[in-house]
Structure formats: C-alpha cells, structure tokens
Symmetry: C2
Subunit: 460 residues, 2 copies
Amino acid sequence: MIPRPIQDALQKIVGPQHLLTQKEDMLTYSYDAAVLDPVMPSAAVIPENTAQLGEIIALCHENTIPITVRGSGTNLSGGTIPQSSGIVILTGRMNNIIEINEADMYAVVEPGVVTATLAAEVEKRGLFYPPDPGSMAVSTIGGNVAENAGGLRGLKYGVTKDYVMGLRFFDSQGNYIKTGSRTVKCATGYNITGLMVGSEGTLGVLDQVILKLIPAPKARQAMVAVYDTIEQASETVAGIISARIVPATLEFLDNFTIRAVEDFSKAGLPTDAAALLLIEVDGHPAVVAEEAEQVKALCLKMGARTIDQAKDDAQRDKIWAARRAALSALAQLKPTLVLEDATVPRSKIPDMVRALQDIAKKYRIDIGTFGHAGDGNLHPTILTDRRNKEEFHRVEQAIEEIFDKALAMGGTLSGEHGTGIAKAPFLEKEAGYSSILFSRRLRAALDPKNILNPGKITGV
Amino acid sequence: MIPRPIQDALQKIVGPQHLLTQKEDMLTYSYDAAVLDPVMPSAAVIPENTAQLGEIIALCHENTIPITVRGSGTNLSGGTIPQSSGIVILTGRMNNIIEINEADMYAVVEPGVVTATLAAEVEKRGLFYPPDPGSMAVSTIGGNVAENAGGLRGLKYGVTKDYVMGLRFFDSQGNYIKTGSRTVKCATGYNITGLMVGSEGTLGVLDQVILKLIPAPKARQAMVAVYDTIEQASETVAGIISARIVPATLEFLDNFTIRAVEDFSKAGLPTDAAALLLIEVDGHPAVVAEEAEQVKALCLKMGARTIDQAKDDAQRDKIWAARRAALSALAQLKPTLVLEDATVPRSKIPDMVRALQDIAKKYRIDIGTFGHAGDGNLHPTILTDRRNKEEFHRVEQAIEEIFDKALAMGGTLSGEHGTGIAKAPFLEKEAGYSSILFSRRLRAALDPKNILNPGKITGV
C-alpha cells in the first residue's frame, strides 16, 4: 500500500472519483493478456490532462513510487503488469484527438485514444493510419506506441514505429520532453522518438503522439485461398513474396484455428481445410486487379483447392472479422492460452510451420497457428491449463524450443508483442549479454530511481 | 598528439600502412562539408575488419582517446570534425557487402560501403534501396546511418532510418552490441537500432548494418515544370500533396540555382525561369501514366509555363544529374557556401519560400534555394565569403532567422543533415532544455568517458 499522505496528494491532483484503491479495482489492473501471475497495484489514478499527469509523475518520483501506465491492457507480454508497491496510471480520460492535419497528413493524439477510433476519424478524411493490431477495437495509441504494436497490414505498411513522427512525454523526474516533429523529415537531435517506441513505459510517460498519415488506398481486394496441405499454404506465402508482390495483408490459419474460428463465429470457413490464406491487395484499382489475378494464379499453382475473391465490402469485412476472431475463438477452448510471437525471415515460413508441427508432437500439446505469414510473424497459440503443472512444464519447454528455432532461422523472439516480463529472461539468447548491459545502462540513466514500469524488457 | 605507445599499439592492430599521422593526411580529415573551423586529429586509422575495429575502440577507451568515425566526410553539420586529441577511424576498408538476400529482401553491409554501390548491386537483382542523399555517389552507408541521411526520394520512400532493420556495433568500451533483426518485424528489446540512426557516432561505432530492401518500381516518369513566378511553383507543391499524389521526388529550384546549374553543367535549363519543379512519379506503369497526367494538369493549372516529360532514361538521368549538380554549381560562385536544411510541414512551403526571399533582402545576402520541396525540406544555400567578417555576421543572423521561421511554422532545424556541431547550439530552441538534459544523460550513460565523437548533437 502507498502511504496515506501520498494517496491524499494523488486525490488532490485528480479528484476523489479518479483515484481507485478498492481491491476489486486493483484486481482489474493486476493482469494483462500474457500468461503471468497477476500483481495487484496499490492504487490506480486517472488523470485528465497534461498538468495532472505531470504532477502525478513528479509526486511518484519524489516518493519513489513505481508507475505502470495502462491503456486497455491488451498487451501480450506482461508489459502492463504493475508492481504491488506501485500505482497504475490509466489513460482513459486522456483520449482527445488534438489535431488531424489533412494538408500535412499527420495527427496529434493523446495516449488514451482508441486505435480504431483514430483510424475511423482519419478514414473520414480520405486518409489512412495503417497499423492495425488485432486488438485495435479497444487498444490505445499509447499502448501501441509503448509496445510498438504491429498488425495485419505490417507486410506492406509497417508497424507503429513507422508512423510515430514525434512525442511529448514526461521523463522519470516529471520533466516534459519534446522529440521529433510535425515534419516528415527530422534529423534534429537524437532519435528519442524511435527509442521511446517499444520502450514499454520504462523510459517515460507519454502525453502526446504525433502520427504520420498517408493517402487512403483507392481500391482493395480480399481473397481466401483454401489448401489441403499446410505445406502448400506456407510455400504460397514464400512464393508471393519472391514474386515481388506486396499484399497489404497475407494471413495464415491452420486447421486447428480454422475449426476454432468456425465454431466461434460461424463465418462459413471450410473446416476440412488444412490451411487458409487470407490475402488482401490494395492501391490503385488497376494494380489491385492485376495483383489479385497474379495472387490467384500463384495460389492455384501452389496447389490451392480454391481461391475466392470478396465480391463487396460486406464479404471483405466478414473475412477480416473471421481472422480477428481467431484469438477469442482459440481462447474458448481451454483455460489457458499462450499466444507466441516468434518471427522469422519470410522465406523461412515453411520451415517454421514444419518446426511448429514437430514441436507440438514432441511435447504432446495443442498448438493452433495463425498470423501474419507475409511478415514471417506467425502466432503459434498453445492451448493448455496452467493448473496442470506437468503439462504446463511441457508448454514452457515447447515455447523455449520455438524461440530457439526462430533464432536459428535468423529470426527474433518477438515480432510485435514486445518483451515485457514474459520474454525478458530470453533476451540474452537473441541479443547477447553486452546488449542487455547496454540497455540497462541506458535505462538506469533515464530512470535512476527505477520507478517507470520496473522489470520490463531488461528484467530490472 | 597521442602518446607514442598508443601509436605503436594502433600500428600493431592495423599495420603501419594503415595508420596515418602525417600533417597532410590530418589536414584531409580536419573538415567536412559544414562551414566550421577545421580541427586536425592526432592520427587516422584504417581498420580492415571487425576484430581490428574492436581492438581500436578498446584501446581508445582504455586510454581515453576521442574517436571520430569518418566515411567520405560529406556531412553538412560538422559531424565528422574530429578532436585534436583524438583519432579518426576511416571506414574505407570495411566496405564489404556481406549479404544481399533476395528472398527476404534485406542486405547486410559494412559501414564503408558506398551508397551508390549498394544501390546498383541491389538494382541488378530487381530490388531497390531508396535512400539517395545528394552525395550518394561517394557517401557511405555508415555515414548515412550516423546522420540519418535523407535524399530526393524521401517524400514517397522515407529516409535512412526507415530502412535500417538492425545493427552490429561496438559501444564506447568496445563491447559488441547486436540490435534489431533480419526480420521485417522486430519488437524484441529496446529499439536501439532506431536510437543509433542519426546518433552521429556518439553512442557507438558501427560494424554492420542490416538494411531493408523493397521491390523495384516497374516504371517511372520524370518531368520538368517551368514557372515564371516562385509562388506558382511553391503553390504547386502544396497542390500536389493536397491532391494526395505522392511522387517519388518533388524538387524545387529557384532562379539563382537554375542559373548556377546551367552555367556549371549546360543541362539546357531555362535560365529565365523563376523556378523549376523536377518531379518523378514511379510504380506500376498504369499508375505512373495516370499520375504523370494528373501532375501535368496540376502544374499547368497552377500557372506553369511549360511541363515536359522525359522521353527516355537518358533524358530522365539528365534531369537528375542537373539537380544533383546544384550544390557543386552553387559552390563555384563564392568562396563560402552554407547549405541550410530547415524543414517545415509541407503545406508551409509557399510561406517558407516567401520568408527566405524576405530574409535574403533583409540581410543583403545571396540565397539560392533548392531542395526536397515535397518533404517541406528546402535547402536555402547562402553564398558568402567567410573572410568578410561583416558579411558573415549578417549570414549568421540570417541563418538564425531561418531557424526561427521554420520553428514558428511547426518545422524543425534539420530535415536530413543532422545536428552535429553546427546546430547543437540551436537545439534548445526546438526541443527545450529538458530534452537536451535527457539526451545528455543518455549519452553520458552510454559513453561515460566521452570518447565517441565528443561535442556533437548535445554540445558535450
């Protein structure tokens, strides 16, 4: 528990109704979407504006109180699991879209803005904010920046870091830091903006985010290719990339996932298929038509049983709704779901798919695999029950083997879910000890009291 | 001078022919393309490989010897001006292209690889490395990364930082650090890769760079639009952007620059024009044809006297050769050339062009303006003679006013030339003192002995 005088001070800053200390509230903020032990914070505060946010941070700094900032808590690596001695700052009231500049194609938003809300506002103006994490209907821009969130469109459009032009944030002492610019090019000072993206709240607390927007594509075509073998599907992914076609989206679903989604959402998916590819090309109408035909021909050549093109927006939306249901659908099947995120160079997708099948067999566990195959970013999803210690031990062994396989293929531990607590112990495998020390030095210099989301990324 | 035993140790590492200490050599490495006082280093070493590089850094760390790494010395902000007590590391022998992976579309290169060499190698394979700084014929990838170099194609394709997927570098103590990945998505650990890009050699010494490649555009069309007033040209720039057309390149040349280029290169430019726009659209042939027509119509609507499309590659190359000659051409006119880089949100280009005209008049100086108008990134180029103290004082005042105008328009001090020594004193104007302190803390933690290119960016 934090001391009474500090509670009083927090209450004075945000008002009594925006300071939460009841056990049932603390429970809500004790976990996120990673499979980790929950930790109840001491309090949660809900600032309304920059001034309140700055006062909270200065107060916490003075009194050495750990701070974990939370948007919607959708992150998958334990990045929002707080410290028991600390507070959670909720960004829900700092949810203003401050500016959408159509002429210069950027937006300035507060961290609590929901990703889908921004995307919709921007779309109304003929513009496009491409990053679309699976949780975008509830996830916040602040959370997306903190985790460098990816999404389905990463293949063609990149991830959150590719759209953050500038930031305004408080450092650990409550100083207000401005980085980046409203210009598309900026080479002034260090690229602190780049460093902050994906830093999981350990280097500062976001106040404003300047996001790059781009013109909306004029046309798009979604397709579903159905395969009788998983190899044909994964080889198609490699084939599309090597044909130098860059779809906006190129998603893979294995049979396990197809059946789970179909049970859950009755989308009409072929439950006997070994794998599906969900593909969307976008851009100029002429290019879309041409690329859609090329993709179709390639899928059939690689052995697709069928490939269907969405006939209208409703059919398209249905395809993506089915894909977005994958995680929820799989989550219904067993008490515990571990969503992995190991990522490989794209040409290694067939190898990775094979490796996942072998690992599932070896450890006698259920792995449903879906994800952003075009990025090399699959989400092998392990269904288990954490209370079954013997099985969960096998799950942990399987996860470590997935990491090892990904690294052996020149891949990375995390494509888009971050490091958090979940992957901090494995970071050395990928980056080496020197890189961890480098990161710790950096972190210690910027947060000497270690109050900003302790324990994440570097394990300290 | 560095002590004899250290010279001996350096010589032992690289061999006698790769340690330079003669005055005439030191002179060569005492300056770069910024207008600043030269500083002669104590020695220059030319390592051949990773092992030698690591040994040099460890030796310098142990003996607190400042290190400035130099590619081709083309940078424009004093980033490669050494310390008199320090050494220069030349990257010229570390110029291997280690890997070009066509399937996964990335390249791994050593820092001394010349930008144009890499671009050409990549092009042979139907791939594309877009960043094309004006100096790409001689500039190195290491220098491009250190300065976060931009170029003519930034508008559509972004700048160097958008293509750096991972790095291998030595920290100030000689530890080997691995960041990023060969995968297109990577959210593992801090984004040290992003931090290193543009850090001007102050946080580490590059050993390898992993660069993202993209499929080469299938077609392109270059055009030259001729204007009788500078306003019509600058308004066209804003018009093209607001029509949501994204050319690969959208360059502006004022009359002063046109005449200088024509004198220099006899390219056939209309010397009576108030301004030119050099425009290239690229991509799918159908889109290129359509966008070229749209651009043409827009230029004419905005008052262009003529607009000519390049009929073949030879004509296209001639256009870009003329543009690339601008800096050299202007440099012939007077003893001192100050190339500025202040950048504004793109819709402010007309305002900035007007402001530059006013500033030239107010301070009675010659400013030739050209540059990447589509990015908001103009290069007002001041022609002067540094030995004329009275005039140079007016030049300095003008530069400061250019900065103030850019910042007042929501712009930035540097679009693509970095901070170096030249802009370090002005950084506070843009970022505020807190941001500088934040940067200094970061820097001090990563280079506690302050041996990595001291004085750059944060002024320490």
